[in-house]
Symmetry: C2
Subunit: 340 residues, 2 copies
DNA sequence: ATTTTAACCCGAAACGTTTCGGATGTCAAT
DNA sequence: ATTGACATCCGAAACGTTTCGGGTTAAAAT
């Protein structure tokens, strides 16, 4: 409620001087500044961010754009971990963040540019976009600073953060191979998702490197969904008794596979080794606990936020991207082939 | 980038008329309106929300205030479910939401009133505040519309949503009693939390109603934390072999108890029945799957959002609160006392 | 022919800031 | 006495809207 104008009349200085005093300009007398600050404190002045942003033509608000905020995503805690990462990094800056969830329906009404302009967003962190998302092109074309999660595009105003997924996946597959597994199936996520492409690539490269043939029909698609993965895995496991290990592009799907195996009385890990991806909370508690690959969404989001604020403040960082470590976490869903 | 002024010069009408046309005032000619709308469409005009809010002295932004956005809260998906609830309800309105996380440190710098004023928040949904939180008083005193989750306070601008936890807890305890359990312990959450008080009350009332004595030392405190709950439960279970069931104020703590029992080789449910609260994703996957009480944070948030927007738009709702149903979900962590 | 009414339109102020381009005064150097 | 430099301050415009209080015109009522 109290404005800069109130402080001006209180202290007898002009609005200009009050503003300059409060913003630490150096052409205002120390005493004056003190008086103004005291007055501001006294009446509990807080700057009206709206007015500030309006006149400065830019805000300190960064948007977190997610493809669709859907309830199932609470199964893995990934989304929330990301939020925490952003939140923590931004905690003692003067940036704020808004959560923006798009859907194809919404995109019809509002272009990406419009989305940014209406709130004068300073920048965005973007996660979970499909390869063919119409926003993607707009994002790279726009001059709004953006950080993409797991989508490897860079230009003047676009950077990304990802993790060395491919390496970790290769590690995982090679680990299975060392355990004696030679028929390793792969459960992929939805085709559109960028991470699906990447992870599949990791799987295929690993097979090549260890000299195992890549059977196209060893690749299933579970749409990143537990139930779908289970439905897909059931007939697959029945028809492919030679398969002794399956690597999944997400823990959620791996849990689906676990469930399918249980229904078919296939013992995990004795008869079937299963590896997931994400290291979600659940993976520690499933039976058996999942061997999985951990990439910390918290750290990715935190790194992305730092990349973004640096970009906004025109601090040129050396690299237009950040690659974090992901690592294989061995638990109890994997063991030697034929270990019975 | 394009403004109302651009449309004005394009079409030859005044800024006033353009504004009125775009806002569906009825004193503008149908043709004029059409022309203006076409022009707006053509140049991809989006209103500058900042400017709108500034002049109207209020925004369409609602804040979601959480006590502390901490990483562990991704363990239960509660926070995210709430966000989804809010997000879905707000999806096709013109409201937006920002996530605000406070901490005692931040509260020193900014009063609740200031928090609202700087962004001209239209209203808040408030969750997870401790009983002694300094903001609480400010919230009830302020004239900013607020909806409290699980804190039962109402006045002109304060409403709440909760669920019939007490009833459900009574159901749970009575269910245990029917199974033959007579020594039922209780694992409470952190003392400050309002829900702790409520849930404890439910436990005590249930004991009274079925005529069981309330031993003060049957009440533990696990701070809503898995590890702490485990640490507290270990000695308790050792010292109280007569206890055959423990009811926990959260699933996370119940899982801690499960883990304690496992370490002590106390079979659940044969030797010990355990009930949780929240029906988090994990509870379905723990071993054994947890009997628990489900209150949907999604629905609570959704209901709260509706309550809030109604309040903001001065639509007087009949009730200053909403009470949702919570219910006992029986899974495999409970069974007859002495069922071996 | 005058007044009333309605439909349609617009100028200008307001919201709370920031910032450009001076203005004023003081003091030391010339 | 003039100049220059510096420190300190301020007026006014600008940001993009909304809205109050009118104004103009043409048709309808007197």
């Amino acid at each position: 409620m109290p404005t800069i104008k109130d402080i001006a009349t209180m202290t007898g200085f002009s609005v200009t001087t009050v503003s300059r005093a409060l913003n630490d300009y150096n052409d205002v007398n120390a005493q004056t500044k003190k008086k103004i600050e005291d007055a501001a404190e006294k009446i509990g002045y807080v700057p009206n961010i709206l007015a500030q942003n309006l006149v400065m033509k830019k805000s300190k608000t960064i948007g977190i754009l997610v493809n669709e905020l859907k309830r199932e995503s609470s199964k893995d805690g990934l989304m929330l971990e990301m939020l925490c990462g952003v939140s923590d990094v931004l905690a003692d800056s003067d940036y704020e963040f808004v959560l923006l969830s798009t859907s194809t329906a919404k995109q019809k009404n509002k272009t990406f540019k419009q989305l940014c302009e209406e709130r004068q967003l300073a920048g965005l962190i973007i996660q979970g976009l499909k390869n063919d998302d119409p926003y993607l092109e707009e994002i790279v074309d726009s001059n709004v600073p953006c950080v993409l999660i797991d989508i490897l595009i860079t230009n003047e105003t676009t950077k990304y953060v990802t993790s060395n997924q491919i390496e970790s996946i290769k590690d995982a597959i090679k680990y299975l191979h060392r355990l004696g597994h030679c028929a390793i199936a792969y459960m992929n996520g939805s085709d559109g998702a960028h991470v699906s492409t990447i992870r599949k690539q990791g799987y295929l490269e690993a097979l090549k490197e260890i000299g195992l043939p890549a059977h196209e029909n060893y690749i299933m698609n579970g749409q990143f969904d537990e139930d779908i993965a289970k439905k897909v895995a059931m007939p697959f496991l029945l028809n492919h008794p030679e398969v002794t290990a399956v690597f999944c592009a997400s823990d959620v799907m791996a849990i689906g596979v676990l469930s399918a195996a249980k229904d078919l009385s296939i013992k995990v890990p004795e008869k079937l080794s299963v590896i997931g991806f994400d290291n979600i909370v659940l993976s520690r508690y499933s039976t058996p606990p999942l061997t999985t690959i951990s990439q910390s969404p918290y750290n990715m989001a935190a790194a992305g936020t730092e990349l973004l604020t640096a970009m906004i403040e025109k601090k040129q960082e050396k690299t237009p991207f950040k690659i974090l470590n992901s690592e294989l976490i061995i638990r109890e869903s994997t063991t030697f082939q034929g270990s019975v």
